[in-house]
C-alpha cells in the first residue's frame, strides 16, 4: 500500500497568468528579496490583482531557511489572514511557504514537529500555490519541507502529505536568465531526484516513469540551459524535468546522495544541488557494488552502454561525472573548498546527520557508520569508490 500525490500542475510559457483565474480574497506571497528586485513578485501580484485578490509579501526567506524564519513568516501571515499562500522562488521559498502555512493553520504546532504521521487538518484558512523560479528542487510538487536547525547544524526533513500544494505553476519564463552556476546546481539537484527516486527501495510503478523521463530530459537539456540561459527550449524542458523529478522522488524517496549532501550542507552550508550532485556518482558506485540493477535500468533507458547490470551502473555514474565536468561543477569536497581538517573535526556530526536521514535506509545499499565516513573521505579526495 502506498500513495501517489500531486498538485494540479499548470505548466508552459505564460502559465503564471493562471493566477488571474484564482478565486479568493487575499494572498500572501512567501519569497526572497532577490525575486522582489527581479520584479517576479510584482508580476505575480499584478496577476492576482486581476483576479481581484489583494496580496501581501514576506520576502525574508534566506537560502536554507531556518526554523526561526518560518516562525517569523507565520506570524506575519497570521496578521495578514490570507486565503491563499503563494510560495514563489526556489526550494527554500516554497518549503518556507509550506511550513509557514502549517503554522498559520495550526499555531499550536512547532515547525520542527511537522510530520507525516499526525493529522494536521489544513485548508481551514487557506490553500497553497507553489511557483518555482529555478528548475531543480521539485518542491512545487512535493510535500517535503527542508528547514535548518541552526543551533543543531542540521537540516531537518519535515512535512506532511497535507502540506502538498493545491496548485503548482511551472512557468519556464521565470527561470530564463538564471545564472549558470544556479542553473547547474539546481539542475543537478533535479537529476539526483530522478536517479535516486528510481533507485530507492520505495520506488514504484507510478514514480518510475516520471524519474526516467526526467533523467532523459536533464541529460539532453541541462548543458544547453547552462551554456545559454536564454535557450527557451532548454529552459522549458528543464523546468518540466525538475517538476517530473519532484513528482518521481516525492512519491518514492531520495537516497544516499541526499543524506550526505544535506549533512554537508547543514554543517558547511554548501548549496544543496551542488552537494547532492557531487555525491551522486559516489553513492551510485557504492550501491552498485552490491545492487546495480536499478541504475542499469536507467542507463538502458538513456541508451548508455549496459551489457551487464554492473556495466550499466558504471556507465550511468561515469555519464553523471562527465555531465558535472561539462557544468564545471566540483567533483570533490576539496574542490568545494572544504578544509580536510574541518571535515575531520566535524565527521562525527556528519555521520550522525547522514545516518538518521530516512533517505539513507531506502538507498539500494545501506551503509554502516564506518562506510559513511569512508564515503565522506573518498568524496573529499575525489577517489573512486572501491568498497
Amino acid at each position: 500500500m502506498w500513495y501517489f500525490d500531486s498538485p494540479k500542475i499548470i505548466f508552459g510559457e505564460g502559465a503564471l497568468a493562471h493566477l488571474e483565474q484564482i478565486e479568493g480574497r487575499r494572498a500572501f506571497v512567501v519569497t526572497d528579496e532577490n525575486l522582489v528586485e527581479l520584479g517576479f513578485v510584482k508580476t505575480a501580484q499584478d496577476h492576482l490583482a486581476k483576479a481581484g485578490i489583494e496580496s501581501g509579501v514576506f520576502s525574508q526567506v534566506e537560502p536554507d531557511p531556518s526554523l526561526q524564519t518560518v516562525v517569523r513568516g507565520a506570524d506575519a501571515m497570521a496578521d495578514y489572514q490570507p486565503d491563499w499562500v503563494v510560495g514563489l522562488g526556489g526550494g527554500s521559498c516554497m518549503d518556507a511557504a509550506k511550513a509557514m502555512w502549517v503554522l498559520y493553520e495550526r499555531p499550536d504546532v512547532k515547525p520542527e514537529a511537522i510530520n507525516p504521521i499526525e493529522t494536521l487538518g489544513l485548508r481551514q484558512k487557506a490553500r497553497l500555490i507553489t511557483i518555482p523560479t529555478t528548475a531543480g528542487t521539485g518542491a512545487e510538487v512535493t510535500w517535503a519541507i527542508v528547514l535548518t536547525d541552526t543551533e543543531d547544524e542540521r537540516k531537518l526533513g519535515l512535512g506532511s502529505r497535507e502540506n502538498l500544494a493545491d496548485i503548482a505553476i511551472v512557468d519556464p519564463s521565470l527561470s530564463k536568465g538564471m545564472p549558470p552556476r544556479l542553473t547547474a546546481d539546481t539542475g543537478m539537484d533535479a537529476l539526483t531526484h530522478a536517479v535516486e527516486g528510481y533507485a530507492a527501495s520505495w520506488a514504484n510503478d507510478f514514480s518510475d516513469g516520471l524519474c526516467l523521463k526526467a533523467a532523459d530530459l536533464i541529460f539532453r537539456f541541462l548543458t544547453r540551459a547552462y551554456e545559454d540561459g536564454n535557450d527557451d527550449e532548454a529552459r522549458e524542458k528543464m523546468a518540466n524535468a525538475a517538476t517530473l523529478a519532484g513528482l518521481g522522488f516525492g512519491n518514492s524517496m531520495a537516497g544516499l546522495a541526499h543524506s550526505l549532501g544535506q549533512a554537508i550542507g547543514g554543517v558547511f552550508h554548501t548549496p544543496h544541488g551542488r552537494a547532492v550532485g557531487l555525491f551522486l556518482p559516489y553513492t551510485i558506485d557504492y550501491a552498485a557494488r552490491e545492487n546495480p540493477l536499478r541504475y542499469a535500468e536507467i542507463a538502458g533507458y538513456l541508451g548508455l552502454p549496459c551489457a551487464s547490470d554492473a556495466e550499466g551502473a558504471g556507465s550511468l555514474s561515469r555519464s553523471i561525472g562527465e555531465l558535472l565536468g561539462r557544468l564545471e561543477q566540483p567533483l570533490s569536497l576539496k574542490e568545494v573548498g572544504i578544509e580536510r581538517q574541518a571535515l575531520q573535526e566535524r565527521m562525527g556530526k556528519l555521520i550522525e546527520n547522514a545516518e538518521n536521514e530516512a533517505y539513507t535506509v531506502v538507498h539500494p545499499r545501506v551503509p554502516t557508520a564506518e562506510e559513511l565516513e569512508r564515503l565522506f573521505l573518498y568524496a573529499y579526495q575525489g577517489q573512486e569508490v572501491d568498497f
Binding site: 502506498w2 538518521n356 530516512a358
Partner: protein, 135 residues
Amino acid sequence: MIKFATDEWAKALMEKINESEAYAQAAKTWEGDFYFIIEADDKIPEPIYIYADLWHGKCREAFATTDPSAKEPIFRMSGPVRNWRRVIEKQLDPLQAILTRQFTLKGDMVKVMRAVKAAQELVNCTTLVPTEFPE
C-alpha cells in the same frame, strides 16, 4: 521457535537488542520507552502490549502484558498482528507502514523522526528472534 507477543518473545527481543552492536551504536543517545501494541483480532483475543525500555543503545527491561496501565511509556506503536508479521519478515517497510497508517505511532514525533537509523536497527533485531506467529 518462540510464540510472537509472549513474555518469552519480549525477553528474547531484549536479548537480541542487547547483543546488537549496530543497535548500540545507532541508538547511543536514545532515551525513551515503548509499548509495541498488537491489536486484538480473530487470532488475538485482547490487545497485547510489549513493553521495551530503550536507553542509550540498550534495552533495560522488556515484558509482555495485557494490562495497558502496567507502564506509561512515552511512545506507543500499534498495529494488527498481520502487519507486525510483515515488518518482522521484512515484507513491509516500517516507516512506510507508519506513513500509510498501517501502524499508528504516538509520542514525541520530533524525537522519533531524528532516530531513523536506530529504528531500522531495532527492526533488524526483531528479525533475529525465531518467531512463531499465530496461524
